[in-house]
């Protein structure tokens, strides 16, 4: 047991706040809303080519199909540019398209059958243009998005020169589709005076509101965007939900009729961007012990046709290229390439998984070169006291990494299994058996948006006079359980059961100027805002309770307010200190000295009658952030979520197929609010990532059109792909006091642990090939694995 790390004490594990409606099928998603009379169903016309001139379009025949009502094109868009960071993307393309899937028109019809026939009648004449369909091509043509950025410490050139050992190499990382089960969807209801009510499956209601308003040419005040719940998001609905809602809104505005756009999975996968592909070259210097002395990496990412979030994603990749390891001399340069693919976008982990893939892979190589076990190399280089400043200058505080390595090494029986695998592989080589691999990787994921202004949240807490509570925040519930966690925070503050709290749909009329529910920050910023709101109300209620204690019951507001027979109680200065004397527990409000108590609901009623506000709007900003993007230095994150995972795989030497035999995960999530929800994020994130590094293969044709655009060709993990043995555990850490309730964010970090499956595959391949360094792209598909295992059989004749 390393560093005395202990398992978690028992922690609440209440079911997800929507679980009852989930299991009964009553949870309502956008496309479950009943169709209104006169509502139009929308479909999209998009480019089949990566780049083309739009020579002519003819909707005459389409509009003659009975039931087809209207078409919306670029001409109908008031402000036809949008973009989260750079405003470089048209809502609807008008003269030229820059990716296969770029939308040029929206068709509205009264029935799905009419829509289908109408779409088939749209005539478009395209003139194909040369397109950029690889990072190499983009680099050679200097087709870039944004400037090259660099984060550096020390003198990497000199340190490399002086390193006793060096290695260089390249790493190719493909993208992945989010494959949220609920495809992008929006329903827009036109209201009086040009107002639009937008129901969108969006992770960012505020941006969706803004993009809709600008496209339709109305002020923000006239658009309300509501997101009740999402059937999964994973980053794919952070920026890219907005144009989908705009399409429906433009149709609603033009026709004055409700309009619905619910993409098919095929259209969704063709149109929307993916995880950014990366192409990385690196040079690493180390000594014979395997201590890394210098690391120089150049990262290119494929941003697709438009900027979207790619520059921020690149930044996070650069900030995570150290991962859990201290590297004295380090330089990471990053440049986003502009190509002619769908604009790539946020996906759980943002750039993090790419940076971490790089360094974890390099450590495997260093192990081969030094003849040591990769775990020893990792432990040697791990951040520890004295070696705890990152390449961007932030100190790794509350650092549990060394202990996590030690504990998982023991818990997963790493050493004895390594021995077994070594002898197993020896036999496999001799007898033609299947090689096995084992690898233990880490994650240190920075929590906070790297863009400072996004680190704010707001929440509206309303107590009704029966003592029940409604909470609205900027956080969007997409399965991760953010609403459940915030409900728990509020329930605990008021001393009420969860059943007294109702989380309301996220809506821009209650919570405006919000940040996307992204960067794992949902609970951190919105939960903290809700807690602040609760505290303000509690101060008032506590002050009233103190007054009531000294007031004869006959003079209480409930006895006197109606007829006005007694003066109102004035709260006075006691509000500021009231909370020190009063506790909220078990539906009671009581003085801490037990001299007085009353029911929460009774106190609430008295407060209302005494004209004390029972609502509060809380605003929270993450303190102490100071990352200078131009210098690449400063405190980028409030804290780090850390974890380790050990994965064992077996490769079929005849087919290249992978079987994941065992996975052990150990994470530090601080003091979780809800154990079940957190562990669900851990297993879910891990398996989602496992798909990215193994079976999920995006295949495009020569026109840049995605061929694997449905689950028959794009294979996310099924239940049969899950590890035969799968242990996910949390350690006990009360030390993350900088965050709300001492929790740690969990959404993205566990995904990065999936890289242990990929490095285990590499381990097996390299072990089979006499411990030579053998590169492996992501995903490690069966074909790539078989090629690596038996390259001689793939020599083209």
């Amino acid at each position: 047991m390393g560093d005395g790390l202990k398992g978690l004490p028992p922690i609440a594990s209440d079911p997800h706040d929507s679980s009852f409606s989930h299991v009964t099928g009553r949870s309502e998603y956008v496309d479950d809303r009943p169709l209104l009379k006169r509502e139009l169903i929308c479909g999209l016309v998009y480019s089949p080519y990566a780049r083309a001139n739009l020579k002519s379009t003819d909707f005459t025949q389409a509009l003659q199909v009975p039931g087809v009502v209207e078409v919306v094109t670029a001409k109908d868009v008031v402000t036809n540019t949008w973009g989260t960071i750079f405003q470089d993307q048209p809502v609807l393309a008008s003269t030229e398209v820059h990716y296969a899937g770029e939308v040029i028109a929206v068709l509205g019809a009264e029935t799905p059958e009419a829509l289908r026939m109408g779409l088939a009648q749209v005539k478009v004449e395209w003139e194909k243009l040369p397109a950029i369909l690889s990072v190499d091509e983009a680099v050679s043509k200097k087709s870039f998005i944004g400037e090259e950025r660099s984060i550096a410490r020390g003198d990497v050139v000199e340190a490399l020169k002086n390193s006793p050992k060096r290695l260089s190499g390249c790493l190719k990382i493909q993208g992945a589709d989010h494959f949220y089960l609920e495809s992008q969807a929006a329903v827009v209801y036109p209201k009086e005076e040009g107002q639009l009510e937008v129901h969108s499956s969006t992770q960012h209601p505020t941006e969706t509101q803004h993009v809709v308003a600008k496209a339709c040419g109305v002020p923000f005040k006239d658009v309300v965007c509501i997101a009740k719940r999402l059937g999964g998001g994973f980053g794919g609905k952070e920026s890219q939900a907005a144009p989908i809602a705009a399409f429906a809104a433009l149709m609603a505005k033009k026709t004055g009729r409700p309009a619905r756009l619910a993409l098919s999975k095929d259209d969704d996968m063709v149109i929307t961007g993916k995880r950014n592909p990366f192409q990385i070259s690196y040079d690493v210097g180390f000594n014979s012990e395997g201590k890394i002395l210098a690391f120089d990496a150049k990262l290119f990412s494929d941003g697709g046709a438009y900027a979207d979030l790619s520059t921020s994603i690149m930044e996070r990749a650069m900030l995570h290229s150290d991962n859990a390891y201290f590297i004295p001399h380090m330089r990471v340069c990053g440049q986003v390439c502009r190509t002619n693919y769908h604009p790539h976008t946020a996906f759980r982990g943002f750039g993090g998984p790419k940076g971490v893939a790089l360094i974890e892979s390099v450590l495997e190589d260093v192990a081969r070169e030094t003849g040591k076990d990769a775990l020893d190399i990792r432990k040697l280089n791990c951040y520890k006291p004295g070696e705890d400043i990152t390449h961007y200058g932030q100190k790794v505080e509350n650092n549990l990494l060394p202990g996590l390595f030690e504990k998982l090494e023991t818990d997963s029986e790493y050493r004895s299994r390594r021995e077994e695998i070594n002898s197993w592989n020896q036999k496999a080589i001799e007898t033609g058996g299947n090689p096995r691999g084992l690898s233990l990787t880490a994650v240190k994921f920075g929590i906070s948006f790297t863009t400072r202004f996004l680190n704010q949240g707001n929440a509206l807490v309303i107590i009704h006079t029966d003592g029940s509570v409604q909470v609205s925040t900027g956080a969007v519930e997409m399965g991760q359980g953010v609403n459940s966690r915030i409900a728990s925070i509020v329930a605990e503050e008021f001393g009420l059961p969860l059943s007294s709290i109702r989380m309301m749909p996220t809506s821009t009329e209650k919570n405006a100027n919000t940040s996307p529910t992204a960067a794992s920050s949902g609970t951190d910023i919105n939960g903290a805002a809700a807690q602040k709101a609760c505290l303000e109300i509690k101060k008032r209620l506590a002050a009233l309770a103190l007054k009531l204690k000294d007031t004869s019951k006959e003079l209480w507001p409930s006895k006197t307010a109606g007829l006005g027979t007694a003066p109102e109680i004035e709260l006075g200065k006691e509000i500021e200190t009231s909370l020190t004397q009063v506790a909220f527990e078990n539906c009671q409000v009581m003085l801490r000295d037990k001299s007085f108590q009353l029911k929460f609901s009774d106190l609430v009623r008295e407060a209302y009658l005494n004209r004390i506000s029972l609502s509060e709007y809380g605003h929270y900003r993450i303190p102490d952030l100071g990352f200078d993007k131009l210098k690449g230095k400063g405190r980028a994150f409030l804290y780090y979520t850390q974890g380790v995972a050990a994965s064992e795989v077996e490769l079929d030497r005849d087919t290249g197929e992978v079987k994941v035999r065992r996975v052990d995960i150990l994470m530090d999530l601080g003091r979780p609010i809800n154990y079940g929800l957190d562990v669900g994020q851990v297993t879910g994130g891990f398996i989602q990532g496992m798909g990215w590094v193994t079976t999920e293969n995006l295949v495009y044709n020569q026109d840049g059109f995605l061929l694997s655009h449905s689950p028959s060709t794009y294979k996310i993990p099924s239940i049969q792909d899950t590890p035969r043995i799968f242990n996910a555990n949390l350690v006990h850490n009360e030390g993350n006091t900088v965050n709300v309730k001492s929790t740690k964010a969990v959404g993205e970090p566990p995904l990065l642990l999936c890289l242990s499956v990929w490095t285990a595959i590499r381990d097996a391949v390299m072990s089979y090939q006499g411990n030579k360094v053998i590169p492996m792209a992501i995903p490690a598909t069966s074909e790539r694995i078989l090629r690596a295992l038996t390259p001689e059989e793939f020599l083209e004749t």
């Binding site: 009852f20 009964t24 099928g25 993990p717 074909e783 078989l786 038996t790």
Partner: protein, 482 residues
Amino acid sequence: MRDYSLIYLNGVRKEVRGREALLMLADWLRKEEGLTGTKIVCAEGDCGACTVLRAFPQIDNNPLQFEAINSCIATVAQMDGSHLLTVEGIQNGQELSPVQKAMRECHGSQCGYCTPGFVMALTGALEKHQSLDKKTACNYLTGNLCRCTGYQPIIEAAITAKQSEEHSVSKRYLTKDTVADLSHHQKESLLIKSGLITFFAPVTLQEAVQFASENPGFKVLGAATDMGVQTNKGKPLPKHLLSLHLISELYEVRKEDTRISVGARVTLAQLRRAVEKTNPEFAVFLNLFASPQIKNAATLVGNIANASPIGDTLPFLLVSHGKVHVASIEKGSVQKREIAFSELFLDYKKLALKPSEIITHVSFDETCQDQILKIYKVSQRKDLDISTVSGAFLLKTSLQGKDKKIEEARLAYGGVAATPVRLPEAEKALQGKVLDSKLIHEVSELIGKIISPQTDLRGSQTYRKVLAMNLFKKYGREVLHG
């Protein structure tokens, strides 16, 4: 002649006619019946979000039980004679069912979008087993994708849930009267018209082949696990649809001597149960085939009629002397003939059937004691994936003498040409010889020379070639070393 499809939906009797009857079941449930718990995600039977339960008295599962199917790729008309259950129908009053309760308490739902599908698949499983172990649970859930949970909480829910009498949906819904009503209607032909489309389900083969000859371009609608997908992806339904679901003789699996004969309406699930003893290798292979939802609906004949070069059952049928039995009408009477598998596949998706012929049966050999048969399938994902390459290999060795000469060899592949193929040259190279590693190597090299597969999104030409060679090597090793 009926003009409506008769179904029971969550216990309520429905006669569905015209346009509504030709909607996909999931669309009908969501849009016409307002039952939006059933979700549509992929619209191609690959994700299970649309899973509903179906009890169909014609299928031989004694006692009659609910089985999971995908509702997104079947028309309402095809559901004629079924009792259908959606997620809205499984609660017992206000109380959650054991599956719902376990899914809720084990955190089996996150975003909730796949949840109704999982709940239904598990409810179906618990109708057959009182409780589930991990392996069984996973097998029942192969056809359901979840992107949130990593499946662990769902597995936990599956092994936690215990069936009880009062929660059995079969007990609650499959009453004597209901089943009698459904069965009674299966004795009357069905004709549904909507716009230009005619859906005809006769009760005799004679009427079926008559319809076929009168309506060129007709299509037999089996489970529609392929046609339904194409319709969802924008291809309109064919104008003349023929369903054989009211012809009771087509539901039989018969053993005649050493031949197994399978009717056109026999589902893959039914087939797997039927061939467990006669063709154990094939039965095991059928476990890897598609999802439970697909197997509960799709037929063996459908897999053949679809004529895909990567149909999973085809290599097996090629090495097992498979034959299709077809019928047509000539001068007012039913004419039957057989086509051997070796003659069946003309080109990519093209079979040696005359335009008005329909497949009524398929037959194949029982697997004998002296035959070593193995069936392989390689795909990017192990389960519920279309194969990159598949193979079936059969060796018959003489039982006398200790050197065990190969009397006969049959090797068949899918995914290495425009049609599934046998490899006579490679078979000949094995005949009369004794299998050893040298021979395995030689034959696999030969296989690599004979075949010329294509590159597509599932794999490159070279990968397919190496796979084809390696599958034979794997087979050889397994034969030699057990």
